[in-house]
Structures are given as C-alpha cells and as structure tokens.
Amino acid sequence: MDSVHDMGGMDGFGKVEVEANEPVFHAPWEGRVLAMQRAMGYAGAWHIDHSRFAQEKLPPATYLTVSYYQRWALAMESNVIERGYVAPEELETGHALKPGLPLKRKLTPAVVQEGMIRSSFYRQQQGPARFKPGDRVRTKNIHPKTHTRLPRYARGKLGVVELCHGCHMFPDSVATDHGDNPQWLYTVVFTSQELWGPDADPANKISIDAFEPYLEPA
C-alpha cells in the first residue's frame, strides 16, 4: 500500500541524528514488546509480514509520530484482535476472559536459544527462474492496496539483475493470508539517474531485492 512507511526518496525529514551511547532499549516496555513479538512469531501466531502490514495500516500521522516500539505494540494489538487470539475486552481489562486458541508451539526458556534464530525464508521453487544475473529488467508500475515490498521509488524503472537469492516465500501473498506462494528473489540494481533523474549523482547506484512478480524483461 502507498503509505508513509514507504519513505525512500521523501524530502523534509531533516538530518540523521545519532544518539551518543544509545541504550539497547530506552524503557523496559520496549524490550517486552520486542520479546513478545518474537514469542508470538515463534508460536506461529502470525508472520513478520503480518506485523509489517499492520504497521503500514496505521493512520499516517500515527505512524510518523509514535516511536518505533510503540508502532510494534500497536501492530501487535491489531494482530491479536484481528486474528482472534485476544478479544478487545480482554485488552481493555488487562486480563484473559477466555482460554487461548491453540498455537503450534510455545517459546519457553528451554528453547529460547533456538527461538532466537531467524527462520529460513527459502521455499521449494515452483518453476525455473525467469531471470539471471546480467539481465535487464523493468519493475512493474503496481500500486496494490495491500502489503508489498516493491518501494514506490523503484516502480516502472529499468534495472539490471545482479544476484539471484533463490526462491522465497512471497510477502505480498503471506501478508494477506494467501499462503507462501514462493517466488524467485533477485537483487536488481539501478543507476541513480534512472531513479532520481538527470541531476542525480552519476557515481551512485541503488539496489532493491525484488521478487519475480515485480519484474518484466526489458
């Protein structure tokens, strides 16, 4: 969806401000949010793309003004409710009113090491790769109302395939509960002038990782 999370190339946000001696968490609740997200992911309650999509669906003004972990918390609240794991009254009262739904597993201290390793996103290929490194491609000019990983600044642009990363689950399908729908994944590189026009610094190049459905031969 075309919302404010898709920030590449926007102006007006100012300089990058670096915080000296930044702590890992700025408040204890931030760590709780991160760890809950991890635990619910391990339990198979939802996928990372559901979390991303839930953040993208926040009102733009909210997305831009709340902190990073507040965004995670808001997304988690909407995921637990929308997916039926928690009733709104339970969040309001702060207590469970009914037993939980069954989940495939539970993150406990005994398995926490294992639970912290990222799962693999590789999936069985459904057909041969359409592109190979060196191929010229054009990204599609698509504007889905749902989750996509093709940023706006790189739509309808001419690029070159540089790497093929194998076949991965497809976020656009996963986020809308249409299954893994495995797709080939490529690093596609663009000149800065292709993306930003003739005045862009010609020494720069920008790449995205693009799933095959985002690309057509050029």
Partner: protein, 211 residues
C-alpha cells in the same frame, strides 16, 4: 504488581503518553500470558540476550577475521551465512546473510526504506537513527548527504552503492582495513570495526583512534 510503584514514579518523569504505552504493553503481556501464548521468563531471556550478548562485536569479529584470512574473506563474500556459521563460537545466523565489500572504488551502504530490516545476529538491534524517517528517506536519494551527517566524505568518483533491504536478505558491509595495521592480530583489529562501518555510514577506525 511489584513494579507498579516504580513505574508510577516513572510516569511522572516522562509524561502521560509514555505511561499509557507502559500500561497497554503490560496489559498485552498479561493477557497473552494468561491465555497461555507466551511465557514471561522466555521474554526475560530474550531481552537479556539482546542487552548483553547479541551486539555489533559479533560482526566486528567476523570482519577482523576476513581482514586477516583471505580464504575466509572469499568464503564470506560467497556465502556469508555459511562462513559465519563456520566460526563456531557465534550463535548461528539465519539464512540469507550477504556480505558486501568496500573497495577504493565502491562504498556500500545499507538501508531499509520500508521498515527496519537489519542483520540482528551480527550487529544486534538497530540504532534509532537506522529506523528513523531521515535515514530511511534520504539514504537512497542522497547517500553522500547522509554520509556527511556522519562526518564521512568520500572522493567524488567513488561509487556509492546503496542496498535497500526490501526482502529477507540481510546485508553486512565489509569495510576497508585501515592503513598502518599490518601484522595486527584479528582480536586487535576487531576493535577498529565499528557498527556504523558495517552498515556503511562510517569507516573503520584508524589505529590512532584506539591507541
């Protein structure tokens, strides 16, 4: 709850907005725990791991080994997941780690314009600036301007290659080894490898900076 008084005190220091978030997060954790989905002790262990074990030192050790062991460097550039796993002493990294090498001709910089993708296993959790609108918006359009914010100026003819992490691949920059470090041990070299140098918003430190 035991922490209530403390948290209440905290609210007065930081304003009501933060306190509302604290209360909502606590309610969420209580509900998820009571419904049997999560175990608070596992949350404690995750938080402890990110606060004490999983940080950029993991990445620094990988880079220092690449600087001192050409075969390892080649393996790292070919398949970073496998190469890092071969080091043994580190916790396993997930699939899809890609290492990209800086050279005098090309400087690599990593961003995630859509969210906050970052190689947690080798760099720890991302700093706030990496997840912020200024970095996410500008890195792909004006990378030299962003580098200037970090006090880094590169020759005009150096290619700046920005990698937008739009999928589940995660990128680790292999910075250039600083001059004047011939004969240094990998352990000593690791002290020169900063987090920002592995994101590409900085360079490795010079020997004089760690004297």
């Amino acid at each position: 709850m035991a922490g209530h008084d403390h948290d209440h005190h905290h609210e007065h220091e930081h304003g009501s907005e933060l306190s509302e978030t604290q209360l909502r997060v606590r309610a969420l954790e209580t509900v998820l725990t009571e419904k049997g989905y999560i175990d608070p002790a596992a949350l404690d262990a995750i938080i402890e791991a990110y606060e004490t074990k999983i940080g950029p030192r993991n990445g620094s050790v990988v880079i220092a080994k690449a600087w001192t062991d050409p075969a390892f460097k080649q393996a790292l550039l070919e398949d970073a997941t496998k190469a890092v796993a071969s080091m043994g002493h580190m916790s396993r990294v997930g699939d899809h780690l890609v290492a990209v090498e800086n050279t005098p001709k090309r400087h690599n910089m990593i961003v995630c314009t859509l969210c906050s993708c970052y190689p947690w296993e080798v760099l720890g959790l991302p700093p706030v600036w990496y997840k912020s609108a200024p970095y996410r918006s500008r890195a792909v359009k004006e990378p030299r301007g962003v580098l200037a914010d970090f006090g880094v100026t590169l020759p005009k003819e150096t290619e700046i290659r920005v990698w937008d992490s739009t999928a589940e691949t995660r990128f680790l920059v292999v910075p250039m080894r600083p001059a004047g470090t011939e004969g240094w041990s990998a352990d000593k070299l690791a002290d020169l490898v900063t987090r920002d140098s592995m994101i590409g918003t900085g360079l490795a430190k010079n020997p004089s900076e760690v004297a």
